[in-house]
Amino acid sequence: MIEVVEPGPFATVQDLGRTGYAHLGVSRSGAADRAAFRLANRLVGNPDGTPAIEFSFGGLVVRADAAATVAFTGARCDGVDWSAAQSLPPGRVVRLAAPGQGLRSYLAVRGGLIVTPVLGSCSTDTLSGLGPAPLRAGDRLQVGPQPIGDVSGAFGSFGPVSSTVRVVLGPRDDWFTPAAIESLRRTTWRVRADSNRVGLRVDGPALPRRTEAETRELASEATLPGAIQVPPDGRPIVLGPDAPVTGGYPVIAVVLDADLDALGQLRPGDPVEFRPERLRN
């Protein structure tokens, strides 16, 4: 058993998410920084999608009942070895400080956390409530049997957090003025405090629509994490893993899949720039 003594500001169980139900209105959810999540599992020899703890802003305090092999990855917190498998003796309490940079960290336990899957995933969907509730003090998580994989050695360091993410313009960039596209590209945006797993809100200039699109209403269309939606007030929201699967605001650009992990590490106050790339077709 792994006991959550304190969850810190926000901690959930995540895996690689709920796939195959988007057409029924189910968001994908899953780890916000998939590379860090995968690394944590690989370090302890777990298969890639094994459920692990995702925690924001450090502050997590855990205790293992029995000896456990664990790995911490993602935003680096003091108090423990980072990006390396390590043994926790029974009863040892581990306290994580707040990370110096980045937002989300992962704790994988060799054998994985045993959580009842919902629609094939153990991820907490913070918007719809599917999956386990966010972790609370006193929660006890069962650990699964030893996997076949080997425990791996230390694996480099975290960071620096990238403040530039690449985007592909569209599908609704034609709703906006050329000046809005220019602003999207040239602005150093600031991550707002009301950002979460549903959406990353950023401060910067409003992105105006073309005159003919000012009063137009978009029929609901499907969205994906990384889509940059612009509501009528012109303030962009970058959709996160728990965002609804359809939305009625035009999407001016979509973040490249490879850069979604970087988005997952941005914290309130961080700068972020969107760099349009051309797709090869």
């Binding site: 139900y21 057409h23 029924l24 599908p171 609901s220 499907a222 609804p244 979509v254």
Partner: protein, 203 residues
């Protein structure tokens, strides 16, 4: 008849296909049949497809869809899903006034058609049904309710729907149902899936 087809990029791992409302489901099916498409999400006039960019491009998708839309696909309809409704919603009077008829006539007009699930979204299992009587095509409430109970049967923006979970909502409420609209223990968690036909029966 050849539908509108425009394939737009949606990041580097998906495309958004715009088409006519009546072609959304055939386009969704055609996309799902392509090698290299992993997930398809229909909406009002678009279909989003997650793709493997090593295997598909906007050009090859457009070409494949043009071939598919030229085929005379025959729809195999299942029997409609029947949903029993108690028509006692708080907006019945408002809807009747805007439709220019009596509340009893609203109930008759809402329970007469066979609807089609155009798409799901908003929340898990929330199905947008098309086929409303024209007089029931009415806007959302000016002020949304902070809480609409699960099972509420409602209309707005040219659709009708039943709320699978309680949530905030701005639709006009006509009644309620006890039907199990969402149950994650079922093979299909959503009672209503894109393409399903639906009838409301007055309880």
């Amino acid at each position: 008849m050849s539908p509108t087809l425009a394939v737009r990029s949606y990041g580097d791992r998906a495309v958004l296909v715009e088409t006519d409302e009546s072609f959304v489901l055939p386009v969704a099916r055609a996309l799902l049949a392509l090698d290299g498409v992993s997930e398809v999400v229909p909406a009002a006039r678009t279909v989003l497809a997650r793709i493997d960019p090593a295997r598909l491009t906007q050009v090859t998708i457009t070409r494949a869809l043009r071939r598919a839309s030229a085929d005379d696909a025959v729809d195999q309809w299942d029997d409609p899903v029947l949903i029993e409704v108690t028509y006692d919603g708080p907006d019945l009077g408002l809807v009747a006034a805007d439709a220019g008829c009596s509340p009893a006539e609203v109930i008759q007009r809402h329970s007469a058609p066979t609807y089609t699930v155009a798409f799901c979204g908003f929340s898990p299992g929330f199905a947008y049904l098309t086929g409303l009587h024209p007089s029931l095509v009415q806007p959302r409430l000016a002020t949304p309710r902070a809480r609409v109970p699960a099972g509420a049967v409602a209309i707005a923006a040219g659709y009708t729907a039943a709320y699978p979970q309680s949530s905030p909502g701005g639709w006009r409420l006509l009644g309620r149902t006890d039907a199990a609209l969402w149950d994650t223990a079922r093979v299909s968690p959503s009672l209503l899936r894109p393409g399903d036909r639906v009838r409301f029966v007055s309880a």
